[in-house]
Amino acid sequence: MPGSTNIDAGENFARLLVQYDRAVFRYILTFVGRHADAEEILQRVATVLWQKFSEYDPTRSFLPWAQRVAYFEVLKFRTEAARNRLIFREDVLEALADTRETLNPVLESQKLALRECLGKITPDDAELLRRRYCDAETIAALAAEKGRSPKSFYRRLDRLRDLIADCIERRMGSVGPTSAAD
């Protein structure tokens, strides 16, 4: 695509990317776990997707194509970063990719359940989660504001995450167990 003068293609690409960037992020996070790593890989994926956009078949869904590119970027990232941080082996990544594909309907239901569960949390709990997921360092600041120890807030945070996970399980009861593991 570089060198093309088709600005409309750029707009079309931008539209697709804005539409699917969070889904691609979730996919990448499966393999690397850490948010910062996933965001960095997502940035690389965006660049590669644009470079290869002329190969994209618009009659087919964008997301699977983007996920394929993302998987290879994860492998590249692993090669570069595995020396100084813990990243899954290739055979583990492959197993995760295969399993994730079969779980897509469950993950979609889970996403909806999470949305409903988040709608029920209190403003205080929402603030705690916001501090954790926007900037983990502010948990200590929040504790200082409330005159409590950071440890107590981290315990409350874990408890809150457990409650959300339980809420999701309850809401997904009709989906049924996802495997024999339960």
Partner: protein
């Protein structure tokens, strides 16, 4: 699985996300992920919840009606594309991008995407404590999901959109958005002409109008024009116009996916929303505020509670009553009611002005303090301070020289955040030059703002809502000339920059208010409640 095992497993997954597992623990997790399909599934589901929480609080628009978004590398990527299009040409940027040795170089160019719009109205939107949505909240490019109710916002270029849930809207830039599903109403003022609303299979290019669009779950679009004219394009697979049609007021068109085509229809298949009027509600003024203003001893204090002999009385003295200057056949240009002066742009000059000049206004220091609510983003002159016109200057433009302006610039050549208030001090008075202070994109149409502008011999200051937002130290000349105050219009004989909105609690001081006094005034108005 027992509850204890389940708790341990969740903790293990959290440690993995936090990067706090030891190498041995990590290796053990790897082994189990390979050998235990159930564990592998639970891990993927747990990580996906983590991703969902991260997404909900960093990019809330993807999960609910909230739209405040933190910086995303993808957003930065797109923003660089947009800037490059303007500055260097898209092709050149792509070439540079493809050869960039550091994939994060693009991100480092733009530390943060700027907001492109602001929420102006909410109707029956379900509250969500995880992602609250408020009037005045700024919107950055990204995805907006509205589950129920209506969310109206105004782009900084002046375009207004009302989204009726359930709907999904991708906001791409200050002049472009894509409706994925649901209903929207769009109004484009002349200054924002060219706004494009895309749907999955169509593009609606505004030609100066108001229109509404519906996209169903299958991606079929319907467009109805309420006023003016739009061009509707059916897009091909390459994203370019395949067929197009111009439709005007009262006409509707359906854009079918299969078979692809444009079809005129008598009326949309659903009831489409309209735009909510953005009219200022009266400011709720309490006695504490009035007392605090009087205690600061202004020279002029207009409260707009009534007219006396057709004028706005000065609460402090018989001097400087406010006179409405408007054409006899233009009675709605300035209307005093409900404790405010309401200004409506027209094709004839109008202004509110003290019935006498103010001698010694710039003898040393002065302060202008008032509350303003704007109907929309437009270039609005709130207050202008001008010298007595010189008799020998005949030309209206040349006659209008300003010493001070307080206004909201719009589509201007100034470098400032969109939606910022401007305080200009210029001496000697003239048509250009001077020193500007800007707020930081704080104007929210439909809300009341407390503005205070101060000039002293050594400094100028701009306060917004009780806080000092900008100041600049410089020697500011003084003089003994009489000055005129023009409210709601830039010049005496011109129609430029007319205000669409309301002003109230207007006070002029022939001294500099102390910072603490301004805080007291603002607190008196807002104690325990919002002024809006």
């Amino acid at each position: 699985m027992s509850k204890i095992d389940e708790a341990r497993e969740r903790e293990l997954f959290r440690q993995l996300v936090d990067g706090s597992l030891s190498a041995d623990e990590f290796s053990a997790v790897e082994q189990r992920l390979l050998s235990d399909p159930g564990f592998r599934e639970r891990y993927i589901r747990a990580i996906d919840i983590e991703a969902g929480l991260y997404e909900a609080f960093n990019f809330p628009g993807t999960f609910s009606t909230t739209v405040t978004r933190k910086k995303s590398p993808i957003e930065v990527f797109l923003m660089v594309a947009a800037c490059a299009t303007v500055l260097f040409g898209f092709v050149g940027w792509l070439f540079w991008m493809s050869g960039a040795p550091n994939p994060n170089a693009a991100a480092s160019l733009l530390p943060r995407l700027k907001p492109v719009a602001i929420v102006t109205q909410l109707h029956q939107v379900a509250e969500n404590p995880a992602s609250p949505l408020e009037i005045g909240m700024k919107i950055r490019p990204g995805l907006l999901n509205v589950a129920t109710g209506q969310v109206q916002f105004e782009f900084f270029n002046g375009a207004q959109i009302n989204v009726e849930g359930p709907a999904e809207l991708h906001i791409q830039s200050v002049d472009k958005a894509t409706l994925i599903s649901g209903k929207v109403a769009v109004r484009i003022p002349p200054g924002a002409r060219g706004f494009v609303l895309n749907t999955p299979n169509a593009a609606v290019v505004d030609l100066g109008t108001e229109f509404a669009v519906f996209v169903d779950k299958q991606g079929t679009s319907e467009v109805h024009v309420a006023d003016g004219e739009v061009a509707v394009s059916l897009l091909g697979n390459d994203g370019n116009t395949l067929k197009s049609l111009r439709i005007t007021e009262g006409m509707s068109v359906r854009v079918n996916r299969k078979p692809a085509g444009l079809e005129r229809i008598d009326a949309p298949s659903v009831t489409l929303p309209g735009l909510q009027a953005q009219i200022a509600t009266p400011l709720r003024v309490n006695e504490d505020y009035v007392r605090s203003i009087r205690a600061s001893r202004p020279a002029i204090y207009w409260r707009f509670e009534k007219l006396v002999d057709g004028r706005v009385p000065n609460e402090i003295s018989p001097r400087w009553s406010g006179t409405i200057h408007a054409a006899p056949d233009d009675p709605s240009a300035i209307v005093v009611h409900d404790g405010m002066a309401r200004f409506t742009p027209s094709e004839k000059p109008h202004r509110l002005e003290p019935d006498d000049t103010i001698p010694g206004f710039n003898h040393e220091s002065f302060t202008l303090e008032f509350w303003a609510s704007l109907d929309n983003f437009h270039w609005a002159s709130l207050v202008a301070v001008v010298p007595q016109p010189t008799a020998e200057i005949e030309d209206a433009v040349a006659r209008n020289r300003h010493m001070t302006l307080i206004e909201l610039p719009y589509n201007s050549s100034f470098v400032c955040s969109p939606g910022s208030f401007r305080f200009l001090y210029r001496h000697p008075p003239g048509n250009s030059g001077g020193t500007n202070l800007f707020s930081d994109g704080d104007c929210s149409p439909g809300l009341w703002h407390h503005l205070v502008a101060i000039k002293t011999p050594g400094r100028i200051k701009l306060f917004l809502n009780g806080k000092l937002v900008r100041h600049f130290a410089e020697t500011s000349a003084c003089d003994e000339d009489p000055y005129r105050l023009l409210v709601g219009g830039l010049d005496e004989g011109l129609c430029d920059r007319q205000l669409s909105g309301a002003i109230t609690e207007f006070a002029v001081y022939l001294r500099a208010l102390e910072d603490e006094e301004i805080k007291i005034h603002y607190r008196a108005m807002t104690a325990n409640r919002s002024p809006n």
